[in-house]
């Protein structure tokens, strides 16, 4: 059988969706314009009508659209999430990406034909957990948290029939997704409850005699000297003091880039590679989609001869956070 690996690209807006499709995405993923998805940012995401146009555009070109409904429904807003599931079914979404078991149960009962993917926010890092969601709700694909080494992913795949999707490029969560409340501890809002991490409304930049400071709800996340490049104050990527030493105590401001692992991912039978970044511009989506399309095609033609082109790395480097890249946990010594 011809090996295949789907390229799943982020669509934070209709222009980004069209850009991704035009540049070679096999699938795009999107969210509605509220807290039902984990990129709940002002000015981002889709109304029902926008989503309809997005689905039309993608399907006309033979591509798929996935809808992220990957926050945890809060007790007072249950209908907002079930309505989103109903809308996904009506729009003809190719799958919904879910984290909450209660919502999966609703989707499986109400729309048995709707394909379910387990979101990375579901924190499934082992085959027992993935099989739980498969047996209970019939999920057909799981997106695995960015914490496993490749050898662990391979072991996981040996224990389940569910397709596995991995993050290939973009912002790097150092914590297990779905099991991180750092943002609500500092600001009150978290990915699980509000679909945001280190929300913009809590960010303040201040020029001080000691340097430019970034604060999150008043907490000093980082301070930059004049010659340093600044970054968004995601709270796990600041410089802190541990036993008198100031450093990136949790994680450097860096992007995940697994381009060089591509032949290995194809050999393992990974179903899809996900590009992070629904909050990023269409220009980012264009650059990243183009490079990954070329790389995947080259790898599928001849994995043995596959080599990462310097031009690809340069192009991806330009759009990386802090212009640094890492293999993350896939490369074991990172841990």
């Amino acid at each position: 059988m011809q090996p295949k690996i789907e390229l799943v690209c982020p669509a934070g807006s209709l222009p980004a969706l069209k850009t991704a499709i035009d540049n070679g995405a096999d699938c795009v993923y999107m969210g509605f314009r509220d807290d039902t998805n984990a990129r709940n940012f002002t000015g981002l995401n889709f109304s029902f009508d926008n989503a309809k146009e997005g689905v039309r555009y993608a399907h006309a070109k033979g591509k798929k659209v996935l809808l992220a409904l990957n926050t945890y429904p809060q007790a007072d807003g249950w209908q907002r999430w079930t309505k989103a599931i109903d809308n996904a079914a009506e729009l003809g979404m190719d799958a919904v990406i879910l984290a909450d078991p209660g919502l999966m149960q609703y989707a499986a009962k109400t729309h048995p034909g709707l394909r379910l993917h387990l979101s990375v926010q579901g924190s499934a890092t082992n085959y027992e957990a993935i099989n739980f969601y498969h047996e209970m709700f019939g999920i057909q694909r799981a997106v695995v948290p960015r914490v496993l080494a490749l050898a662990q992913v391979e072991q996981l795949m040996a224990g389940t029939k569910v397709e596995i999707e991995l993050f290939g490029f973009g912002g790097l969560c150092v914590m297990v997704e779905g099991r991180c409340a750092l943002s609500s501890y500092a600001t009150g809002d978290s990915p699980n409850t509000r679909g945001v991490c280190s929300p913009p409304k809590a960010v303040r930049w201040q020029e001080t005699p000691k340097g430019l400071e970034s604060r999150l709800n008043g907490i000093l996340i980082d301070r930059y000297s004049a010659d340093e490049k600044t970054g968004y104050p995601t709270l796990c990527k600041g410089r802190f003091d541990v036993e008198g030493e100031t450093y990136y105590a949790i994680e450097e401001p860096t992007s995940l880039n697994t381009l060089e692992l591509l032949p290995e991912l194809v050999r393992m039978g990974i179903a899809a590679i996900k590009i992070e970044g629904r909050q990023r511009s269409p220009a980012y989506v264009e650059q990243v989609t183009k490079v990954w399309r070329q790389a995947i095609d080259s790898c599928l033609r001849d994995a043995g001869a596959f080599a990462v082109k310097p031009a690809w790395m340069t192009a991806l480097g330009k759009v990386s956070e802090g212009q640094q890249q890492t293999l993350g946990a896939y490369y074991r010594p990172w841990k």
Partner: protein
């Protein structure tokens, strides 16, 4: 055994830190006589911590059960390796003690087999998911640490099942889990060769901002709050909300006395103000309780509703 007027039970959470073997054995010897109803035990953070093996925990469990405690074995939160899965199977099939499932993989092994406790990292945020887990055999759930009183009340109002509710009411909050070990990273060591540095930090390793504000606590692959989540001043509201079990998380010193204060406060032998002032000297850091009020977790709200950010 009845304790004063409160119907709520008092629980001791698993030890989240890495203490040496003698310290652990001595700690649980003391807990056998402590005024606590339920004791959770087991390694929930890191599989490299090996000074106590599962069999040791089961032996301690026997001892505590003989002393009249309800004992629950807690599973590891982040299950990654084949070794982790094997341990999970052993715990789920122990045949003797109730299990707290801290990952859906554990739920799969326990569902429809034995009544279990649904741990706080299962992310139960709504009555539909709560009822689903109750239907699979969960007899108790621990609400997510970031959940507010208001959210809890609306979950409990709409749920169908009669499942017990437990709240993390005292201790540094377990906020995040990672594949990376931040304690090893601090010592420029790889996780596979961590030299068990966690043994040096009995209450975790302090992370401060560059202006000295205590912010987080590094505990191996777990990240905790720097401040101590403390609901001893809120016990009446916990009971009114429908909470059945109040959890105290172990710390290196004074855990027995803290349990005593919770017990006295639940029995109304101490007022919340008295309890708060007595507990202060026993805490490794200042109090926070913002989550309970639907605010940033690090806030502290006094019962009279005046607010201060710690």
């Amino acid at each position: 055994m009845k304790h004063g007027n409160s119907k709520m039970k008092l629980a001791l959470g698993p030890v989240l830190y890495y203490w040496d073997r003698d310290t652990m054995l001595g700690f649980y010897e003391e807990m056998a006589d402590a005024p606590v109803d339920i004791i959770y035990l087991g390694e929930t953070v890191c599989s490299r911590r090996h000074l106590l093996r599962l069999q040791d925990y089961l032996d301690i469990a026997q001892r505590l059960a003989a002393a009249g405690k309800e004992v629950v074995i807690s599973t590891q939160t982040l299950i990654e390796s084949e070794y982790d899965i094997k341990t999970l199977h052993k715990i789920a099939g122990n045949g003797n003690f109730r299990v707290e499932a801290n990952d859906m993989g554990a739920v799969r092994l326990l569902a429809n087999k034995a009544p279990f406790v649904a741990g706080s990292t299962l992310n139960i945020y709504n009555p539909q998911t709560l009822d689903l887990l109750a239907g699979l055999g969960a007899m108790r759930w621990v609400m997510p640490v970031e959940m507010s009183r208001e959210a809890l009340v609306s979950v409990l109002r709409e749920r169908q099942s009669g499942i017990e509710t437990e709240v993390f009411a005292y201790g540094r909050l377990p906020l995040a889990f990672s594949a990376r070990c931040f304690t090893a990273r601090h010592h420029n060591l790889q996780k596979d060769d961590c030299q068990f540095k966690c043994l040096d930090y009995e209450d975790g390793l302090a992370l401060k901002t560059r202006e000295g504000q205590p912010f987080l606590t590094l505990n191996g692959i777990q990240t905790q709050s720097a401040l101590v989540h403390n609901l001893i001043g809120e016990l009446d509201k916990l009971q009114d909300a429908g909470v059945d079990v109040v959890r105290v998380s172990p710390q290196a010193h004074h855990t027995g006395e803290i349990l005593g204060l919770f017990r006295e406060c639940m029995g109304q032998h101490l007022t919340p103000e008295q309890a708060l002032s007595q507990i202060e000297g026993m805490m490794p850091a200042a109090s926070c309780n913002g989550y309970w009020y639907g605010r940033p977790g690090l806030d502290f709200v006094r019962n009279d509703n005046s607010t201060a950010t710690a």
